[in-house]
């Protein structure tokens, strides 16, 4: 009687464990194209980067990158979209772990990123800027200024600024990495950092939110090779969907409908990518 109980208990445990593992493992990885053809929802991953892509009430995807992607997907006939909000540093790992299907965070196309994900054709070209305390007391306008004055630069974990700062010779100890925009502004206002390195749009939002305590440096002072193209991130295995997406985006980008939709976030004709290609950006950034 005892040993029967033990055998039964062992069998139940083994079966339930197997059931958990089997039911939770993915079926053979279906590509994004197959998923959309089957009518499943496309999951878009983004962080909290205003005005690029950020969540509204109940994770509603806001921001101009989300607007462009949703508009393009709509022209492809895909309206079933599920937003997944995560932090910036986890965007690429999350895509690779199949937590979502597209990265709409508004990622610059960089060589180090191209090695891990495939980018769509550029959706725009953007520059960086420094956010500094009102009056720019240390006179920080370029990376060389920061290096010379030994100032503390704060930026986000996984931002392109980290690589640029290293390239410009700023020592690692002077580059503070925090999770995102709110922490960057908090570090500046608390005096823990002298300058925030971020993209121009994000910087404008921070300066506006600071209640007059922070201002922007002149973005034209930063080197030309820090002008970056932004693309939508896809898994390396979703090449067919990427092709279809690029075709749809080429038709949608720059149309009056698209520009009207992104106008509220500050995206204008000046940001349109022009001749920039993803291949160029992957090789040269």
């Amino acid at each position: 009687m005892k040993s029967l109980f033990r055998k039964l208990a062992g069998a139940v445990i083994a079966v339930s464990f197997a059931a958990v593992v089997v039911s939770s493992s993915t079926a053979s990885a279906e590509t994004l194209l197959e998923k959309t053809q089957a009518g499943k929802s496309v999951r878009i991953g983004f962080a909290n980067e205003q005005p690029w892509a950020y969540p509204g009430e109940s994770n509603k995807p806001l921001g101009f990158v989300n607007s462009i992607v949703l508009g393009t997907l709509k022209t492809m006939g895909i309206e079933n979209v599920e937003p997944v909000v995560t932090d910036w540093g986890g965007l690429i790992p999350g895509l690779k772990a199949n937590r979502y299907d597209i990265i709409t965070g508004g990622m610059y196309i960089l060589k180090s990123r191209c090695e891990n994900v495939d980018f769509s054709d550029p959706i725009g070209v953007f520059g960086d800027v420094f956010v500094v305390a009102k009056g720019n007391p240390k006179g920080l306008q370029t990376y060389v200024d920061i290096k010379k004055s030994g100032a503390m630069l704060v930026t986000g974990a996984g931002y392109n600024i980290v690589e640029v700062a290293k390239k410009q010779g700023i020592p690692d100890a002077n580059v503070m990495q925090v999770p995102g925009p709110t922490e960057m502004l908090a570090a500046l206002l608390a005096g823990r950092a002298d300058a925030v390195g971020t993209n121009f749009f994000g910087g404008k939002v921070l300066a506006d939110q600071s209640g007059g305590k922070a201002e922007l440096s002149d973005p034209d002072n930063l080197p030309d090779w820090t002008k970056n193209w932004v693309g939508i991130g896809f898994r390396k295995s979703d090449t067919e969907f990427l092709k279809a997406y690029n075709e749809a985006q080429a038709k949608y980008l720059g149309t009056d409908g698209m520009l009207a939709a992104v106008a509220e976030y500050g995206y204008t004709k000046a940001q349109l990518p022009g001749d920039g290609t993803t291949a160029f950006a992957c090789a040269n950034r």
């Binding site: 005892k2 593992v21 939770s24 493992s25 993915t26 909290n48 205003q50 950020y54 969540p55 994770n59 997944v84 909000v85 995560t86 932090d87 986890g90 790992p93 999350g94 690779k96 772990a97 199949n98 937590r99 995102g180 925009p181 709110t182 502004l185 908090a186 939110q209």
Partner: protein, 222 residues
């Protein structure tokens, strides 16, 4: 103060939504932790070396590595091996498994603190090991292990805050989102602080104390 009340009126519902998810995570993780603790604790004092060894490996691994790393591992790395858990499940499983390891040592300590006389009396009365453990030893051990378990459950409640980093929409996640939009850090994180404190002080602590009193009465030791 008025500013804070306006803030609560505007964003209060999101905090409540987050708190509900936190409560769900805490309950599920707690149940998992208790189950794992009892199993692993008993395995730790098993006469069979292999069983003891398995339990020791589990306990040392999950106690010795940080909960955040385990969470990220389950969330980002397991899918590369084919095991994809939905993020809510990944959240409470990681927290439960981690705290289960701590709880296992608490259970083991409590079982071993039951007076030897009880074991000997049970053997003298010809009780099977299963009956001895379930009818005599464990009930007394429960009374001994309840105070440390109160500690662990509060620790568990706070540990669930980490699931916000794998984008589960719990209290901490909502607080960070609202902070990201309003930039009102003091109000956001102050509210989250208060809510966590209320959950620990008004639910877990009194709950554990009431359970202790009830169990002591049952054991005739009240």
């Amino acid at each position: 103060m008025l500013h804070y009340i306006e803030f609560l009126e505007q964003h209060g519902s999101r905090f409540v939504d987050g708190a509900i998810i936190t409560v769900q995570q805490t309950i599920l993780a707690g149940m998992l932790a208790i189950a794992i603790s009892v199993v692993m604790g008993l395995m730790r004092i098993s006469p069979a070396g292999v069983v003891r060894g398995l339990a020791t490996v589990y306990i040392e691994f999950f106690r010795g590595t940080s909960l955040l790393v385990q969470l990220y591992w389950i969330f980002f790395v397991l899918p590369l091996f084919g095991i994809t858990l939905e993020k809510f499940t990944a959240g409470y499983m990681a927290v439960g498994m981690n705290l289960g390891a701590y709880g296992a040592e608490v259970v083991r300590g409590a079982i071993q603190s039951v007076p030897r006389g009880q074991y000997e009396a049970a053997v003298a009365l010809n009780m099977s090991p299963f009956k001895r453990m379930s009818r005599i030893i464990l009930p007394q051990a429960v009374l001994i292990m309840l105070p440390p378990w109160g500690n662990l459950l509060i620790e568990l409640l706070k540990g669930t805050a980490l699931v916000s980093l794998i984008s589960v929409a719990d209290l901490m996640f909502e607080a960070k989102q609202i902070n990201g939009v309003t930039f009102l850090s003091a109000e956001c994180f102050g509210t989250a602080l208060i809510l966590y404190y209320l959950m620990a002080r008004l639910v877990i602590s009194p709950g554990m104390r009431a359970f202790e009193a009830a169990w002591a009465r049952k054991m005739g030791r009240a």
